[in-house]
């Protein structure tokens, strides 16, 4: 029988009413149902469909009217209430945009720098070319790309300063963001170039598990070392990593290459400014030469890289890049010397040792009055030597004398670098950094007034549990403009690197010239920040980029014109009119 339910003054728009009708009419036991507002024209419609009841007479246009032919009107009312109360649609926005054209991908991610392509091989080269049209680097996961296409893509990319990783490139890590099949590895100072996906994975994960980290891993595709391709991407990858301030050691992983190509790659190794650990799978490792080390297994490769990464000093490059003080010091030709004033005797000895090695000096036989190193105006003095502690406390406790020496050094127009230690812990001065920070700050200011600059470098020997608290001391020094390094050795190496860079300008330029054989601007930009990816193909890859802090837009690729070759050809020709 017909039941009538009238909800007074419950207005619903027509869309809701239609959705509601659909919903209720799908219920079991509901033969027919009509849900409408009680307007005269709706009442007419109900009459027309045989669902009119006398109760509708009293309904006003603002009343929701339900007429149902059903046995169980209570359940209908229950469903009705339920529907009206739960109308907020399940709105699920994805974290990244999905697009269907290159143009829209460009609109959504205008600063994209990488196309990650994983579509069927027969279409992959064409899409890779479109990515190059848009000045995007390419990570070509797709396989079944012809070697002719690979060469064309890589040559074209090279002309534009771009890099094509692949085809058949299974893995990559760009600034901590895993690309395609890749592991989550801590960010670190080892850069990897490899023609083997699982080789890269094995090496990077061993590095990761052993406390190291990876700056970038650049896959080249397995055929990059074939004679036809001539290691185009390999060489680009090596150069990009060499120029990358975050990479200190470069690992190269290769399947057995063509002999000519192997030679070419090794020649490139020698032009690099960073140590290289290389594995040519299957080749017995050769003796180390120049900056190049060879390994036999993937594990050996990883461990050797770790060893080099821990002792590497090239992080100086990143610290000194764009250092304004250094530029100013360069202008003052007299300013070429290091003054190291230590309270720790062994630390002073270590500093002297490192500087002697760096400057090719014969070690001094004796160290009168704590003079650990004296060469020209370079000096490293242990102020804890008996000569300085007569009548006053050790400099670890009483900094007065060291403060005087530091002031002198800063005032000395020949001083380029001031080198200090800061030994904290029980018994030591309760705030050494607090004493030296204002001295350095004031000194740098006064130097500036005289048109000079000075670089102060320090290390702190201590821990977070010490009463002075390691990080507090570091923060105070850094706030005063002191460069604080992880260890005394690093501080000293940095000081030496500065002097090197001041004296060895000409030599450095020669090397830079040798390296700058190709424009790699856009490839370098790719690794200067988290990648901004247009993902063409497998959605899972977009998720990975997104989850690891890269930006991504998903290009839901489909063959042009639904795969109709004739229409696709017309489109292509029309675009080239």
């Amino acid at each position: 029988m017909l039941h009538t339910v009238i909800k007074k003054n419950l207005y619903q728009d027509s869309v809701s009413l239609m959705l509601l009708t659909n919903h209720l009419s799908a219920m079991d036991g509901v033969e027919r149902i009509s849900v409408m507002m009680g307007t005269p024209s709706n009442k007419d419609i109900m009459k027309g469909s045989g669902l009119y009841t006398d109760e509708l007479e009293a309904a006003s246009p603002n009343d929701l009217c339900v007429v149902a032919e059903t046995e169980n009107v209570d359940r209908v009312i229950e469903e009705l209430e339920d529907f009206l109360n739960n109308q907020s649609a399940a709105s699920e926005a994805t974290a990244y945009s999905t697009v269907r054209t290159w143009e829209m991908a460009g609109n959504k991610l205008p600063n994209a720098d990488l196309a990650l392509i994983s579509i069927a091989g027969e279409h992959a080269a064409a899409e890779a070319n479109k990515a190059l049209d848009r000045d995007l680097n390419v990570f070509l996961f797709s396989d079944n790309v012809s070697i002719e296409d690979e060469l064309q893509l890589k040559q074209r990319a090279a002309e534009k300063g771009l890099m094509v990783m692949g085809p058949d490139c299974g893995t990559g890590i760009l600034n901590g963001v895993p690309i395609a099949f890749a592991n989550v590895i801590e960010k670190g100072n080892i850069g990897v170039v490899g023609a083997s996906g699982t080789g890269i994975q094995e090496v990077t994960t061993i590095i990761g598990r052993n406390g190291g980290g990876v700056s970038h891993a650049i896959g080249t595709g397995g055929r990059d070392l074939a004679l036809e391709i001539g290691a185009l991407t390999t060489i680009q990858g090596l150069r990009v990593l060499d120029a990358d301030p975050e990479t200190d050691v470069i690992v190269y992983i290769s399947k057995p290459p063509a002999p000519e190509v192997r030679e070419k790659v090794v020649e490139v190794f020698k032009t690099l400014s960073k140590p290289v650990v290389s594995i040519f799978m299957g080749d017995k490792p050769k003796e180390q030469h120049d900056n190049v080390h060879y390994a036999w297994t993937l594990e050996d490769t990883a461990l050797k890289a770790l060893e080099l990464a821990q002792t590497s000093n090239t992080s100086a490059d990143s610290i000194l890049a764009d250092n304004e003080d250094l530029k100013k010091i360069k202008e003052n030709k007299d300013q070429r010397f290091i003054k190291g004033y230590y309270c720790g005797g062994t630390l002073a000895l270590e500093a002297a040792m490192i500087l002697e090695d760096a400057f090719n000096l014969d070690p001094d036989a004796a160290h009168p009055e704590g003079m650990m190193l004296q060469h020209g105006e370079h000096e490293v003095i242990d102020l804890g030597d008996d000569a300085y502690t007569q009548g006053r406390a050790h400099p670890m406790i009483d900094p007065t004398f060291r403060v005087e020496k530091v002031k002198e050094a800063i005032a000395n127009p020949k001083t380029a670098v001031l080198l200090l230690d800061n030994v904290i812990g029980y018994g030591a001065h309760d705030d050494m950094a607090g004493v030296f920070a204002p001295v350095v700050e004031k000194g740098k200011k006064e130097a500036a007034e005289q048109g000079r600059a000075i670089i102060a470098i320090a290390s702190v020997t201590g821990t977070a549990q010490d009463p002075q608290v390691y990080q507090d001391q570091v923060d105070k020094l850094e706030a005063a403009g002191v460069i604080v390094t992880e260890s005394n050795a690093q501080a000293t190496k940095l000081a030496a690197a500065i002097i090197d860079s001041l004296e060895g300008e000409e030599a450095a330029e020669t090397k830079a010239e040798k390296t700058a054989v190709a424009d790699l601007t856009k490839a370098s930009e790719l690794i200067s920040d988290k990648p901004r990816v247009i993902n063409v193909g497998l959605t899972g890859f977009a998720d990975t980029v997104q989850e690891n802090g890269g930006q991504v837009v998903q290009y839901q690729w489909a063959p042009i014109a639904g795969g109709d070759k004739r229409l696709a050809a017309i489109l292509d020709k029309l675009s080239k009119l």
């Binding site: 027509s14 239609m18 699920e92 945009s97 829209m104 042009i560």
Partner: protein, 420 residues
């Protein structure tokens, strides 16, 4: 070609769209502006068609029009006359006119006159009759004919007298730009624009010299009709897109229309030619008691709104009607407009959409992009019962068939001498 590339030509085409200045000037009897209607002739929607291919509701509209014009005294007489070919059928688009659903327009029906002052192109569209039993959905009972007569005798003249008091006519761009921020997409939903229109016209209706009874009837009619503005929007879009079509190069869609049998598109570089493919039947929501089995195939010139870049293309502007496209809520609307943007070449900054981060509505459907991606324009539409007289039974969306674009692309290749 006077342009270096098709892209450059297309920029010139959309320039005509963004530079348009449509004004609603008047409401006049159709025959006074469309000379082809003098005599036994009817305008219909979509590309040219014949009686035998018209869907039943469109035929019903023709019968209604014959009765309204007094060509026949009975339904049977009218039917016979139409079957015998005594009445000429003209595609409205070919005479600067458009009409919703059946689009049947006869000599004495009032039409709105919209002029794009940037080009002086004028376009016409009949007046919206409201919902329920109406001619455009194929109804032709006494109530329908009486209403048509009232529109001819009272509504049309009243609006004419009112509009003539507005110096230069009513500025449609301003009204549309406001209404799109109020949740209209101008095809499925015109409630804001209709209200704004009423707000603007009422002071002039009051001073138009019509009787108090007529004033009451006219204001009531306008106040009750959420879709009144649709027909004004259609004439506006027609005047703008006909201006765009004066550019004889490029690959931009200038008209989308369907006649219940064929969907037709026109393209800027391809002149007055229709490129057609069989229409689809809309997907949508149905009023109580009806289902897709009762639906008539897609018809109407109202898709000119989508050609202009609103309607389904601007789904995101109208949160109130987004559930026609699916149950995913507002994100479905965003996705719909994002998808439509893929086949367009720009955004129309005259029509900024707040719910789309103030991006302008889609501008310039490029047939090359449609063929490339396989994404076809989505049309918001009413759904008519397949039997004349039952009127509207639902609303929803329908896609333009891809075949229209593929044929047009072949023609474009020929025009530009591309051989494959």
């Amino acid at each position: 070609m006077q342009y270096k590339t098709i892209d450059e030509a297309n920029q010139a085409v959309i320039q005509h769209i963004t530079a348009s200045e449509p004004f609603l000037l008047d409401v006049v009897p159709a025959k006074s502006v469309i000379s082809e209607l003098n005599g036994k002739a009817l305008l219909h929607s979509g590309p040219p068609t014949v009686w035998g291919k018209m869907p039943h509701p469109m035929q019903g509209s023709c019968i209604g029009a014959a009765l309204f014009e007094g060509w026949a005294a009975t339904e049977e007489e009218a039917q016979k006359m139409l079957e015998n070919g005594e009445v000429t059928f003209i595609s409205a688009h070919s005479v600067s006119a458009v009409g919703p659903m059946g689009g049947i327009t006869s000599a004495n029906m009032p039409v709105v006159v919209v002029e794009n002052k940037a080009s002086e192109k004028r376009a016409y569209c009949n007046l919206n009759e409201g919902i329920g039993a109406v001619l455009r959905f194929g109804a032709y009972n006494e109530e329908v004919i009486n209403r048509l007569n009232w529109m001819k005798d009272v509504l049309g003249p009243a609006l004419s007298k009112s509009l003539k008091q507005i110096d230069g006519g009513m500025n449609v761009n301003v009204l549309v730009a406001k209404a799109i921020t109020m949740g209209d997409e101008f095809h499925q939903r015109n409630i804001a624009a209709s209200a704004l229109f009423l707000r603007q016209i009422v002071p002039y209706l009051i001073t138009s010299g019509i009787s108090e009874k007529e004033l009451q009837e006219v204001t009531k009619f306008l106040a009750d009709n959420d879709q009144f503005f649709l027909n004004i929007m259609m004439a506006t879009a027609k005047s703008v897109m006909d201006t765009a079509a004066t550019e004889t190069e490029g690959s931009i869609v200038t008209a989308l229309a369907r006649n219940g049998d064929q969907f037709g598109i026109k393209v800027s570089g391809l002149g007055d030619q229709w490129f057609t493919a069989p229409v689809n039947t809309p997907d949508g929501l149905y009023f109580s008691g009806y289902s897709s089995e009762d639906a008539t195939p897609d018809m109407g010139d109202s898709a000119i709104t989508e050609a202009y870049g609103v309607g389904g293309m601007a789904m995101v502007a109208a949160p109130g009607v987004v559930r026609f496209v699916g149950t995913g809520g507002f994100n479905d609307a965003v996705n719909t407009s994002d998808e439509m943007r893929e086949i367009c070449i720009a955004n129309n900054n005259n029509l900024q959409i707040p719910t789309w981060d103030f991006q302008g509505a889609c501008l310039g459907i490029d047939i090359r992009k449609v063929v490339e991606t396989g994404i076809t324009p989505v049309i918001n539409t009413g759904i008519a019962h397949k039997v004349a007289g039952n009127g509207q039974i639902g609303a929803g969306t329908v896609r333009v068939p891809l075949g229209c674009f593929e044929k047009a692309l072949e023609a474009l290749a020929e025009k530009y001498g591309v051989e494959v």
